[in-house]
Amino acid sequence: MDIVIWTLLIATALLILSPIVFMFTASLMPARDIVKMPYRWIPEELYLDNYAQAIKGNDGSYIYPRNILNSFIVAGIVSVTTVLLSALTGYGLAKFPFKGRNLVFLLIMATMMIPFEAIMIPLYLVATSLNIQNTYIGLILPFLTNAFGIFLMRQYLITFPDEILDAARIDGSGELSIFWRIILPNSAPAVATLAILTFRSQWDNLLWPLLISQSEEMKTIPLYIVKFAMEKHTNEGAMMAAASIASIPILILFITLSKYFVSGASLYSSRKG
């Protein structure tokens, strides 16, 4: 029985990892070898042309590095603002009873139900009326915070010991100072998890940049990959190279900080009612 379970676990792990391994090995092969049947997992030689083509772009403009930078900037800033705003809001919802608090909480949760396609055109019109299309602000603004983050922080902060807060108040600390110097530093696990999950989610954002980034310099990684995939000169190897380049930063983040990715899933489920 034991052996069966081990076999099943290992087989499943291999199956699940194989597409990722495929992406990396295919990126190192010329396109004609990728489609040869059966697939040879180990490339015969390290064919780096694919990476060169992905980075250079089909028009030789080397725009991919810039797009990667854009993704970092946007995902990074969104993570920071999301953490700050979610903590602020979550704290308010968790520790300050006020009339209508439940209604506010429900309203915020309801925003999670809004499908992005429903609001993408009105949002686009808002963005153009603020004249922020094709700018970093335009990419960042609609994602300053989100309901999931607020929910996460609220869950976490509900169990924060009131005595500490009251003691600080008696000592004369102002509310904001309490937030900044007591709440935030002591919410490290939730903050870290939220930051990482937000970063990953923004890294993945396709629809909004599709609408708002109109010039090559302002595109983000998913846009580059989609554009690259549609171009006639792109072959399978170059595609996988572009995909690998897009995945390496996030995979490195994952492996080094896996604790927070993993606990992200479990933080959501540990509801204490």
């Binding site: 396109a31 004609r32 489609v35 049947m37 089909n58 028009d59 030789g60 055109i121 686009y124 019109l125 963005a127 153009t128 009326s129 299309q133 599709l210 609408l211 109109q214 010039s215 090559e216 989609v226 554009k227 549609m230 171009e231 006639k232 000169h233 072959n235």
Partner: protein, 426 residues
């Protein structure tokens, strides 16, 4: 001369010059990706900016599918680019909704409308004429023929010069001989269609059999059911559930062709592909192991119908200030004043009379095949809803090819949906 008078002289020079130079005009120029064209147009931009120092032109390329979405959303927010181009089926809605401006004849260097019309091959400006005004200048008029790889033919024991398919029935036979499969999986296709361009490359097949998309009075969808059914049956037989000669889910044929990888024998494409082969695979290009043949006709075709031609027209945003529009037309005309370079370097045809009579054109390989089909062809169907109608045809063909829907059912669905579009209930 003392310092003060020098300074005064300096001022006297600077001020008038700055008045002359005037405010900067920035033009946003969006177009689809084509590395060969990008090279020459960037050069034109430099030259133009030297001629007009107060003009700055920002050129942005998008893939040909994405550009429709981007131009659309930009215009929806009243923030469209100054200059753009798309294929006419996608551009027409902008004309009808008055988002683009009529040609400024003077700025474009023509005496008047008649002079402009006379410069071009008759009929090639018709797609951009609306209520008597002309709304664009042609970047290219393209029609498609069949490009074939001679080596693949010989590998299958055929002689490309003699055995190339002249009818669709022959196309099936020849493809059978050229196709290599491993079990059901195709590793070399003989020919495959140019999915998803149904209005350009598939409608002619229906029309060869006597069918029409829309009745002449524009009110009824689908004319001549028998022709349509024959076409749908043909496609079903071509696909994975029939003879398994090809399918929309394989990589498109024209992308594979240039690499000369022994995975495709023939594809449907335009003259511009020849320039791409030259750029992508000079050895293959120089070997001349390829040739162009006319668009096949059904054996019992009622009409001779080659692939429809389509055009890309440069258009100018009507919502921009007058100075922008004027400069835009000037720049467009400047770019288009190099038709021979466009032909040589990008292999696209501007349908000016001058070009078509030039030696450059006559000496271009296989230009005669393309022109012969072009002269017999008509413009692709375009209207405000052509994008939607094309996707409906796509659904019909895919359902018979991939989902085992019967031709009759697919046709009835198609008729119902296209009729809806026509009735503008849609």
């Amino acid at each position: 001369m003392n310092r003060r008078s020098l300074f005064v002289m300096f001022l006297c020079l600077i001020i008038p010059i700055s008045l002359l130079v005037g405010k900067t005009i920035e033009l946003q120029f969006w177009t689809h990706e084509d590395p060969n064209r990008t090279l020459i147009e960037n050069r034109y931009i430099e030259e133009f900016q030297k001629m007009y120092p107060n003009v700055v032109i920002k050129r942005v390329t998008q893939s040909s599918t994405k550009i429709q979405e981007l131009v659309l959303t930009a215009f929806a927010a009243n923030q469209g680019p100054d200059i753009f181009n798309m294929s006419i089926e996608d551009e027409y809605a902008y004309i009808v909704n008055q988002r683009v401006a009529p040609v400024n004849y003077e700025a474009a260097g023509y005496e008047n409308k008649e002079a402009l019309i006379n410069a071009y091959l008759p009929g090639t400006l018709d797609p951009v004429v609306f209520e008597g005004e002309i709304y664009g200048l042609p970047l290219e008029i393209t029609n498609w023929c069949i490009l074939l790889n001679k080596k693949v033919f010989r590998d299958a024991g055929l002689d490309p010069e003699k055995d190339y398919p002249k009818t669709w029935e022959e196309m099936v036979e020849v493809s059978e001989k050229l196709t290599i499969r491993e079990g059901q999986i195709i590793t070399r296709r003989g020919f495959d269609f140019r999915y998803p361009y149904y209005l350009v490359a598939f409608m002619p097949m229906v029309e060869q059999l006597g069918g029409k998309l829309i009745s002449d009075d524009g009110k009824t969808a689908i004319v001549n059911d028998e022709a349509w059914l024959k076409f749908l049956d043909f496609m079903a037989a071509w696909g994975p559930n029939g003879l398994n000669l090809g399918s929309p889910t394989y990589k498109n044929a024209r992308s594979l062709f240039n690499m000369d990888n022994n995975d495709i024998g023939m594809c449907t494409t335009g003259l511009y592909q020849l320039a791409r082969i030259k750029a992508d695979n000079p050895a293959f290009y120089d070997s001349r192991e390829w040739m162009v043949v006319p668009f096949p006709q059904f054996e019992n075709a009622v009409n001779y119908v080659p692939a429809h031609y389509y055009g890309h027209y440069y258009m100018v945003n009507a919502q921009k200030p007058k100075e922008n529009q004027e400069m835009a037309w000037k720049f467009i005309a400047f770019m288009l004043s190099h038709p021979e370079e466009y032909l040589e370097k990008v292999a696209i045809i501007q349908p000016t009379k001058e070009l078509l009579e030039s030696d450059t054109f006559k000496n271009y390989p296989y230009s005669d095949v393309f022109i012969s089909d072009l002269e017999k062809s008509t413009v692709v169907y375009f209207s405000e809803y052509s994008a939607k109608i094309q996707s409906l045809i796509k659904e019909a063909v895919e359902s018979v090819m991939l989902s085992n829907v019967s031709s009759r059912d697919a046709l009835n669905t198609l008729r119902r949906k296209v009729q809806e579009v026509l009735d503008e209930q849609y």
